[in-house]
Amino acid sequence: MKSLYLLLSACFCVFSASPLSAQSNTLINGNFKNATFNEFVAAVEEQTPYRFFYKTIWTDSLLVNVESQNKKLSELLDTILAGTDFNHAIDEAYGVYVTKGRKILTQLPPGFFEENTGTTRATQTFDYSDYERKEKQKKIAEAKLYNIGARSSNLQGNATLAGNIRHATSGEPVIGAVVFVENPTIGISTDQFGYYALTLPKGRHEIKIKSVGMKATQRLIMLYADGKLDVEMDEDVTPLKEVVVESDQDMRVSGVQMGLEKLDIKTMKQIPLALGETDIMKVVLTLPGVQSVGEGTVGLNIRGGATNQNLILFNDAVVYNPSHLFGFFSTFNPDVLKNVELYKSGIGAEYGGRLSAVLDVHSREGNTKKFSGSGGISPITGRLTVEGPIIKDKTSFIIGVRSTYSDLLLNQLNSKELKNSSASFYDLTAQLTHKINDNNSLYLSAYSSSDKFRLNSDTLYSYSDQNASLKWKHIFSNKVYGVLTGGFSKYSYRISSNEFPVNAFTMDFKIQQLNAKADISYFPNSKHTINAGLSTIRYALAPGHLKPEGTESLITDDAIANEQGLESAVYISDNYELSAKVSLYGGVRFSLYQCFGPREIYQYPSGVPREVNNIVDTLSYKTGKPIANYNGLEPRFSVRYLVSKNASVKFSYNRMRQYIQMLSNTTAITPTDIWKLSDSYVKPQTGDQFSFGFYKNLKGGLIEMSLETYYKTMQNTIDYKGGATLLLNHYIETDILDATGKAYGIEWMIKKSAGKLNGWISYTYSRSFLKTKSDFSSETVNGGEYYPSNFDKPHALNFIGNYKFSRRFNFSLNFIYNSGRPITLPIARYDVAGSRRVLYSERNQYRIPEYIRTDISINIEGNHKIRKLAHSSWTIAVYNLFGRANAYSVFFVTEGSSIKGYKLSIFARPIPTLTYNFKF
């Protein structure tokens, strides 16, 4: 039996080897012992028709030790050249080419003459299905050899390949796709425009492209000189049994960036949420190191920083208030979003202006190929998004609107409390993309939102956020491209009341910023990526204007003086691959700020507390006259050391400066908080963060583990005197205090990003403290000692799990545990003026009970036929499944003669929601 097997396989050998071995004299006989390569060549050429082409200088040190009995030349050469960087190729005319480093292809690749045969293919009657056609196109594209640059024989040196990675069906850029070659290992990920630039040795390469949720693809190129290669990627329409959610797995270990969390909208949509809508802010809250003071608030506290210390960017425009309906919704319409990047440490030099973190939110670009739309209906909101090309493959738009029918709902609830209440919001997001030519693109993005509410009173609150940005991207050459951005952001609110004509008023607040920046990216070679740029922001603030309303009103017109400021910055950074193991990032940002008139500044003498009674003088500054100047260097540095292929350690340091701050002495941010520019009294905040991390991938990147620690110090942050008045206060500097802060923590996360079961578990231990420093006891909090900040929650455990039973049925589970936030509790009671009062402890000396919540959601998709009129899905979610009454706040009131403590919980019982989503 065994012999028969051998015989058969021998026969196969003969047949399969037939093209070259038809002539028996191509087999070689001979014994070579310490022979030179030249001697070997001479012997072979004598026995066979083979003729060798090689450089004798290269091979003079190569010794040949083989024994051959009717062996094929290719086998022999494989043995001889094994362990060297020589390659061999044999063509049909018996030419043998020995090359160093690169192999020569002796045949034209399949598809080389594709362009000429295109017409004949079009007449094929075979009807491929959409999927099959795409697969075939992909195969053709992958097999084809693309010649980059003018053909030349000079293959010395490097050349740069650049281009855009786009979505094959919608034409959207693919952000964060990894473009790499394996030998030598050179890779880069695409930027926010889907652009990449890769410097490689000239010659033949296999370029691989991978991205989250997209089918990995590759291109064969012959790189002669600098050139372009645009690649379209297909969405990963996974077969029924296989579920793959890929992420930037390699970047986590091998990238120099640390403290970065990237989430794309697909991941976010799987997470169960209250109120039936995907909310990026709530998803971000499940990441390690991110906390908020309570449920239903949008403010994020990242690594012990205050909510206003986060730079929230929407398509490069600053967002001042990211919340709707008191924070139950975030302002970002999920249908328009593409992804969000959260930088917690190692913040690049291109970002500045906030102390703590950067939340960079990008919207999608409209489909450049065809019109489509999507939408959703949930119990509280409805939303619709439409997108499509204006000029096919050149200009596209996307526009999304979202609104609430909560007013309708309120009217249905037959409650006397709500008789006089109303609440509504809408927002509109639009983006226009225009590709002028290969080297120039324009991006116009706009956002507008409005909120109105009235709470059982005649006082109407309304606020609106507007921003717009225009970007022009110009590619100078394969190695250099630049982006010019102009932007505008405005946040304003109004409080008005007309309950009593005598007291009828309106109160307005407005902050506005105009900004411009120029960024340039330069890829000099495969080792360096250099970014540089300059930016300027002009702030204009109207911090409060109280006006009478109606003729009977006795309210005096009272306006807090406007504030003006100019913040400019210049930066340069270099990402440098020092060796295969060590990668460095170094950057420096220099920011300068000026606050200028017209404004009046009160002068307080030194040596006494800063109080209204102590004002000695008032200085009047004319328009444009500088009031205060500040500037400073902001160094940024990161290093990565690859311990093994799957593990790395990283260290980073960054300093940040902040010239604009939000003033809020409530626990959570409210729409009526005011912003304040740095001036003579409010010094710019500075923060330093040291961060150290260890990253490991297991099972080929299927499981990612990370452990990061950080230590952070903050100077000149804001604290408040007890009972400070912030609204309409002409002497605001007397109510705010100069504080220093420190925060430290350790974050551990394990993430499985693929498979039927995917998700993450994270645990964070973190602390955050503040300290006020002053010579006067009236200007200190808790006697000038460090005390826990409002968001100091030491333990946080998150579990986000997702299980796909089938392609159409998906189950998700969240589990959240947090320590309670610090509060100030009453410690004694006393009687004054005939009633019982309480005395509070020093600030934040106690905690509310811990927070525990479990949510589930089930997502049911319609059938997965690719061609149908509309795709729809249903999401059934239960928020707070066990109905645990988590404390939102604890408060004490005097009731008659006794003191009663109460615990307020919102979402104190399970909240089921049903959402219908559609896509056409």
């Binding site: 109280l546 409210t670 006891s777 009687d831 019982r836 600030r843 307020l904």
Partner: protein, 380 residues
């Protein structure tokens, strides 16, 4: 303008209703065992009747039900800026007063306390604020009750900060009028002087009511709500009276009361200002780090009283008080087994008495609901 209207604590209740899933539960804070023993001083110099009164006590543990511990045997003096002083007389239970002081409204005064343990406390010097007269106390019907407002103004424009204290007095009756009484087993007529049917009850408002016209062009307080009475309340069943006392405040005093109100009366939502230690204008000279609670101020008091009769109410508020009282009967031959504690309403049976009507004492004796049978002097 009421600055309170700019506060944000309704949000939580709104969210609560929007989601219809929120709840408020009693909460027992972790046991706070430390017994802080801080001094609490409440002082007022009344320039109209030229008296100064100071009440001194100590703080108590949070959940203590005992009355505050008074500070006894302290030496309390009223001092002016020129060093003149008057020593106050101790009236017992921590109360100290002095009458017939010559008050110069141009001067500033302070309180100086020396406790038995030789600790020295001072208040800041305060100026005397003259309070303008109350223009009117008025009421307006709302859907579910009555709202009471105060209006005042100061033509000189110097007052700006106001505090009000309210005292409610109302007449009410028990459910059943008793015209007979049971004394030692004998039933006899209850004379009018012995009636226990109609009572008057007085309660002092415990909420802090402060307002300011600082943001107005004129020193006018228009329709500041000082009280609210829900419809159907027994307060409105016959006749209701509200006494409003108005006191002008300095800006510091206003801020003190406002903060005290915000930290002890507001709802405690995330959108409320964080609670803080509210101290007043006293400080300890012995240990400056030790908080001293309470406030000393000086000035005059203005007051105004209004009455609301049941028949003045609009129709939708004119609803009689609901009573759950039921009448029981006692037969004549059984009356001997009842004690004096049994209250009888009247006899039944004509011409011969068969028995007596009775009910729970709560339904017969109005005093059980907290009032007194003595008609206040101002009631007409």
């Amino acid at each position: 303008m009421q600055m309170r209207s700019l506060s944000f604590h309704h949000c939580v209740s709104f969210a609560l209703l929007l989601i219809a899933a929120a709840c408020v539960e009693p909460y027992n804070a972790p046991v706070i065992s430390e017994d802080k023993n801080y001094l609490v001083v409440d002082g007022f110099l009344n320039s109209t009747d030229r008296t100064v009164s100071v009440a001194i006590s100590r703080t108590s543990p949070l959940y203590s039900e005992n009355t505050p511990r008074p500070e006894l045997k302290a030496l309390v003096t009223l001092e002016d800026e020129e060093g003149n002083s008057n020593t106050l007389e101790e009236k017992g239970s921590g109360s100290y007063t002095h009458t017939n002081i010559s008050v110069d409204i141009q001067k500033k005064y302070r309180i100086h306390i020396r406790t038995v343990s030789r600790e020295e406390y001072f208040s800041e010097y305060v100026s005397i604020k003259i309070t303008p007269a109350i223009d009117s106390v008025s009421w307006l019907p709302a859907e579910d009750g009555l709202r009471f407002y105060v209006d005042t103004h100061d033509p000189t424009g110097t007052t700006r900060y106001y505090k009000w204290d309210i005292t409610e007095t109302y007449e009410y009756t028990a459910a059943f009028a008793s015209i007979i009484k049971l004394v030692n087993g004998q039933v006899s007529t209850r004379f009018e002087s012995e009636y226990i049917h109609k009572c008057w009850k007085t309660t002092v408002g415990s909420n802090i009511l402060v307002g300011t016209s600082a943001k107005l062009s004129e020193d006018v307080i228009s329709r500041f709500q000082v009280n609210y009475v829900a419809r159907g309340s027994s307060k409105l069943s016959r006749r209701y009276s509200l006494m409003v006392k108005q006191q002008a405040l300095t800006e510091e005093a206003y801020n003190y009361w406002l903060q005290l109100e915000q930290t002890t009366e507001s709802l405690g939502g995330l959108f409320d200002p964080m609670p803080t230690q509210v101290t007043g204008n006293f400080y300890s000279a012995t240990d400056p780090t030790q908080p001293v609670l309470g406030f000393f101020s000086g000035g005059t008091i203005q007051e105004k009283r209004i009455f609301v009769d049941f028949y003045d109410l609009p129709d939708h508020l004119m609803i009689p008080t609901r009573s759950l009282c039921e009448i029981d009967t006692i037969l004549v031959n059984e009356i001997g087994t009842y004690t004096n504690a049994t209250l009888l309403i009247a006899a039944y049976g004509v011409p011969r008495t068969l028995g007596y009507l009775t009910a729970d004492p709560y339904c017969i004796d109005c005093r059980i609901q907290g009032g007194t049978l003595t008609k206040p002097s101002f009631w007409d």
